[in-house]
């Protein structure tokens, strides 16, 4: 079994492809060609490695969390600490690599979408470091719920443009970034933030995030003496999840569990659980699962987490779901917020609300596995950005 059956053409089984306007074909092909050259160039790997180690702080730690794990059926739980990376999330892995590609292509300007702001902050950071002009599109709703990250991006010299179309969240920010790109391909690279979008983005960004699982696999073998029973990650577009999962794909005994945002509950219709409740369709340049109505109009997602509030998912996840290699579970806002508080109060680690979905999933998986279980969770980001949202949530839900 391989998730790479026809990656040259950009397909993972029936999912992926390149559904883009002709005006973007040349730019997207240029990215694919440049990435192909970079992959074959040892200097690219060396330079990226230098940045990841000395700038981003890799390898990230693996932390065992026994006090948290008591609530997870007594299973052992380890967190892969992507929250400790420079900029505070896994997004920096992809962004530094694409910033190098941008420089190789000789483009002076970068654009990016952002939901929670983690990808936007990472992109703004890399642009400051590389001396690139940076514009970040962010849904207006998200600029309000993640105001801290807006301030960070602006401090880093990026222009942040609030997007007021559609649901004013991540999906619409991506639409607007594509509109910018169509008009500015000569000067501009689009640093896409997740493993969705047209080929080559899903495979390329997967490659850049793959280091998460490569490190974690080695670390957990050293620390626990065996592979985990389950690797758990939250899934919006799916970049941190595929980054964790990919190194474990050949390990058939390691369950790969993606936690989707179920918002108020899948049954309420107010959720962002694309694989749990969506259907195959095309959004943002690739065929995958999509939240849509029966006439192919994309429906508005709902999640407390801006980073998971997206009606699509990367095509490789759709493929792993379809062949049964990945298990995708819905996690409600409430379950995520309980896990958010639990990790903070038991371990002194405040997770991003996105990552809290994975923690909630781990609590359930632990209960299923019992005390012999060994669980690896990707703590994809830290929660500083979420303190306002969390304070408001717990005030509203005070018992």
């Amino acid at each position: 079994m391989s998730a790479m059956n026809s990656e040259e053409s950009g397909y993972f089984g029936a999912f992926g492809g390149k559904f883009i306007p002709e005006a973007l074909v040349a730019a997207v092909d240029e990215v694919a060609a440049e990435y192909g050259k970079a992959k074959a160039d040892p200097a690219f790997a060396t330079e990226l490695e230098e940045l990841l180690v000395h700038y981003a702080g890799r390898p990230s730690a693996l932390t065992e969390v026994p006090r948290f794990a008591r609530h997870a059926g007594g299973a052992r739980v380890f967190l892969k600490r992507e929250d400790l990376n420079h900029t505070g999330s896994h997004k920096v892995n992809n962004v530094l690599a694409q910033a190098l590609l941008t420089r190789r292509m000789g483009k002076p300007r970068v654009i990016a979408e952002t939901g929670a702001g983690s990808h936007g902050v990472a992109t703004a950071t890399a642009c400051a470091l590389f001396g690139l002009k940076c514009t970040v599109y962010m849904g207006e709703v998200d600029t309000r719920r993640q105001a801290l990250n807006v301030a960070r991006m602006r401090m880093l010299g990026a222009e942040v443009i609030p997007v007021t179309s559609g649901s004013r969240t991540l999906k619409d920010a991506i639409n607007e970034t594509f509109r910018d790109w169509v008009a500015n391909t000569d000067t501009t690279h689009y640093i896409f933030g997740t493993v969705a979008g047209p080929h080559p983005f899903p495979a390329m960004i997967r490659d850049f995030q793959r280091i998460i699982g490569v490190e974690a696999r080695r670390q957990i073998l050293e620390r626990a003496g065996r592979l985990p029973d389950a690797a758990v990650a939250c899934v919006g577009g799916g970049s941190n999840a595929i980054g964790l999962f990919h190194a474990f794909l050949p390990d058939q005994d390691v369950r790969l569990i993606g936690c989707e945002a179920a918002g108020h509950g899948v049954e309420t219709g107010k959720h962002a659980a694309t694989l749990s409740a969506g259907e195959p369709g095309i959004l943002h340049g690739s065929r995958s699962y999509v939240l849509q109505d029966e006439e192919g109009q994309i429906t508005e997602p709902c999640s407390i987490s801006a980073g998971l509030d997206y009606p699509g998912i990367g095509p490789e996840h759709a493929y792993l779901h379809e062949i049964g290699r990945g298990e995708y579970r819905p996690v409600t806002d409430d379950a995520a917020m309980q896990a958010f508080r639990l990790l903070a109060s038991t371990e002194g680690i405040i997770p991003a609300i996105e990552s809290a979905h994975a923690l909630a999933g781990a609590l359930d998986v632990g209960a299923e596995l019992g005390p012999d279980g060994l669980i690896l969770v990707n703590l994809s980001g830290r929660g500083d950005k979420d303190m306002d949202t969390a304070a408001r949530y717990f005030e509203r839900n005070a018992t």
Binding site: F19, A26, S165, K171, R179, V182, G281, G296, Q297
Partner: protein, 270 residues
């Protein structure tokens, strides 16, 4: 019943014989209402448009600027359905006997069903489809149905398209080829530089299909310049804007008819 690809070809050829470019107009279906949209489209056709592109409104019109986004939004909030788009095509064709195409993002058609959509469009007298985010490599299933049902498949070429891409696009396409005059989303712009004439010249080297130019053409002066070298001039956003800016439906119809008449005059080469 077969679709009207022949009517489209004859219409474009006749315009050429009359020493003018064809005027191709665009409005989304269901905008501002389904019946109001049908009336506006008929007004454009009576006003002098030769061919009509009926937009299928989409929740995520990535290729469209703010004006068409607003129109799509109004149409979707009004509850427009694909059945209404088909009815719009039928009534525009029946009333005027002119070729009517649908312009749509791919997901709605893919979801509705290729066979079902193509059959309903052909039965309504439609002439074909423009599918701006369906790449040639993904289009075989659609083209197979479209060809059998007498529907044109119009692909878009961009100034950035490479030579081999232009060959692919024109080899797979039928009806005409849509040459995008500039790099960017739909919407009125001041710019009309060398990109469009260069692209049209490059297309003529690889195809005998009529070449129609669109994106960013908003007034008679621009239309007249493009008409000198293109087989057709495509205007969308300016018509949408005319409807948006009108105080009521009657004024909207007058504005559409007036603007179309000006544009139809402008595309004459003499």
């Amino acid at each position: 019943m077969s679709g009207n690809i022949r009517l489209l070809a004859d219409t474009l050829a006749r315009a050429g014989k009359e020493n003018r470019a064809a005027l191709i107009a665009y409005l989304p279906a269901g905008f501002p209402t389904v019946d109001g949209g049908i009336a506006a489209i008929q007004a454009a056709l009576y006003g002098g448009a030769d061919v009509f592109e009926v937009g299928l409104p989409h929740s995520d019109p990535v290729l469209d600027g703010p004006v068409i986004q607003t129109a799509d939004d109004i149409a979707l909030r009004g509850g427009v359905r694909i059945g209404d788009v088909i009815r719009t095509v039928r009534e525009a064709y029946r009333a005027t006997g002119k070729p009517v195409l649908v312009m749509s993002y791919w997901n709605p058609i893919s979801r509705y069903g290729i066979e079902r959509f193509a059959r309903e469009l052909a039965e309504a007298g439609g002439a074909g489809c423009i599918l701006p985010d369906l790449p040639v490599q993904e289009s075989a299933a659609w083209r197979d149905r479209a060809t059998k049902l007498g529907l044109a498949t119009v692909f878009v070429a961009a100034p950035s398209s490479t030579g081999p891409r232009l060959r692919e696009i024109t080899a797979a396409g039928s009806g005409f080829v849509y040459a995008s005059s500039l790099m960017g989303v739909t919407g009125a712009r001041a710019a009309d530089g060398e990109a469009a004439p260069t692209l049209v010249r490059r297309l003529r080297e690889v195809t005998d299909l009529p070449v129609c130019v669109g994106t960013g053409i908003s007034n008679a002066a621009q239309a007249a310049r493009v008409a000198r070298y293109a087989d057709g001039v495509i205007v969308g956003t300016a018509l949408v804007k005319a409807v948006l800016d009108a105080p009521d439906e009657a004024a909207a119809l007058t504005a559409v008819k007036t603007l179309t008449a000006e544009l139809a005059e402008a595309v004459r080469r003499t």
